[in-house]
Symmetry: C2
Subunit: 308 residues, 2 copies
């Protein structure tokens, strides 16, 4: 079944009534399930995570943005995190049976609605960007709300992809598409953080290592364990098992053993089916072979009645 | 979330209207999803597979049995497969967050309802058996419907656990609990089926090999590939990766390479999370870390409204 995750960020991390109203706008959308809500008072920002079928997720994102526009005034917003709007950023993420192209299309569809129906300036970013410099979110947010108020009117390079060339109290929104990010840590049985740092340098893409992998070496709470902490930006390109094995091999070269690994937070089912398929050599192992996935398919299809 | 699978067998594999009526009884039960239906005309028998929360699955099984009792007359039933009843056998199988003890309790609860409300004699079998000889289904079915008509009245050893000591036209039903059976094949790059047979003998429990593993060696459609075909009766006791590695090691000893493996049909999510956890050493990897499983949790809990 087609599943998309959406992880919108809103510029409110303090007022409970606003946080709850935005969350409920998503949770109340049929076919959408809210997986997580994180509100940070210092950042004065909340991050909502929900999943569902593509159309349902777009509708939920729209309802959240509508609620945020009505309840958050950027002219009065203070917080440590850079932001340009009440709804600051909305990424769509493929989870199951959905292409990146489909998520880019969803971003365009939502961006158009936000611009036309709510008169919010929208910048398409990341994979959905229509200008190369907008692939990078900090560039879209340059100058933040306060700086963008002037720039959006005067600088053609800052004209939005949808909506008016002026900022209201709700500001602007970056809407985009990106891969599912897997946070993955490998622990090493060593007290020497230099080992973890050296291995991190070897595996990360920025230093010519594994594509779509970010990595850094760090200490842990255990003085005899150091960690290579990674972000896997595209497990289709570099699967989890490749990262594990690369780090293990590089550790063995240094006479260090792996002391375990850790998947942080949620991952799509495909991450564990792909890992299983690799190690026991099953060839492709589809989600349709997993009981829970089949049940979810049937429930999402609304099969409470007789099947045919 | 708690998930139970139920795989009832009914003594009808020919009349479409009866097959559909029984399937619809399950599919129409709220919270239950029918995953598979297999009807066999020669056996004159159907196997239905459905999943859901424990209480919903018991209700669906009851409704199916009620329908089968009304539509199937064992006095007129002919087929190649041994049977004692219109609803011949109902096993409950733990899939997720459910213990074997809980499934045994479900079997007892359903057995009592079938006996009291439908007046069907019920024999508890497999893990739910209350007499040691009834752990083995062929013993429960000994003499089939025709033989049991007499024996149930005259032989105290054949008295049912629930319901009357006499058979009506719907016969009797075996209700039980068993583990999820994983059908798993490992292919070997060899033309010699004797290699597969020797390895099968080494790994199967009956010959002192791996506990809860059945195995046999066989030819495949590819003349250069032979197969060790296994049933994993309890992947908590002997996980899939142990079977794969044992067969791989035994093949290497004979100078034979593994040519891949194959999970046949559906498996619970825990099979792939356990395999992943083993190979990349994550420690326990719970279903709560899988996006699809979390979504299913929320849908089964009826969270279409605001969450709390």
């Amino acid at each position: 079944m087609q599943l998309v995750e959406c992880v919108p960020n809103f510029s409110e991390g303090r007022r409970e009534v606003v946080i709850a109203a935005i969350r409920d706008a998503a949770a109340g959308t049929p076919g959408v399930a809210v997986l997580d809500l994180h509100a940070d008072a210092a950042h004065n920002r909340m991050v909502l995570t929900f999943v569902g079928a593509p159309a349902a997720v777009v509708e939920a994102a729209f309802r959240c943005a509508e609620r945020a526009r009505a309840m958050i005034d950027l002219r009065e917003h203070r917080g440590q995190h850079p932001r340009i709007g009440a709804t600051d950023v909305i990424p769509f993420v493929p989870v199951s049976d959905v292409s990146m192209e489909a998520c880019i299309e969803l971003a365009g569809r939502l961006g158009r609605r936000l611009g036309e129906e709510l008169e919010i300036p929208v910048y398409l970013y990341a994979e959905a960007a229509r200008r190369p410099e907008r692939r990078w979110l900090p560039e879209v947010r340059r100058g933040e709300y306060e700086g963008l108020r002037e720039a959006i009117r005067t600088d053609p390079a800052r004209a939005p992809d949808f909506g008016p060339c002026q900022l209201g109290p709700a500001g602007a929104t970056a809407v985009g598409a990106r891969r599912y990010l897997v946070a993955y840590n490998v622990n090493l049985a060593s007290a020497d953080v230099a080992v973890a740092r050296a291995i991190a340098r070897s595996v990360r893409e920025s230093a010519g290592g594994l594509p779509s992998v970010q990595a850094r070496g760090m200490l842990t709470s255990d003085p005899n364990v150091v960690q290579v902490s990674t972000n896997l930006l595209d497990t289709d390109i570099t699967p989890l098992h490749v990262v594990f094995e690369a780090i293990q091999t590089l550790a063995h070269v240094r006479g260090v053993e792996v002391a375990g690994s850790e998947i942080v937070g949620l991952v799509p089912l495909s991450v564990v089916t792909a890992t299983t398929a690799h190690y026991v050599q099953t060839g492709e192992l589809g989600s349709a072979q997993i009981v829970q996935s089949r049940l979810l398919d049937l429930m999402l299809a609304g099969h409470s009645g007789p099947v045919e």
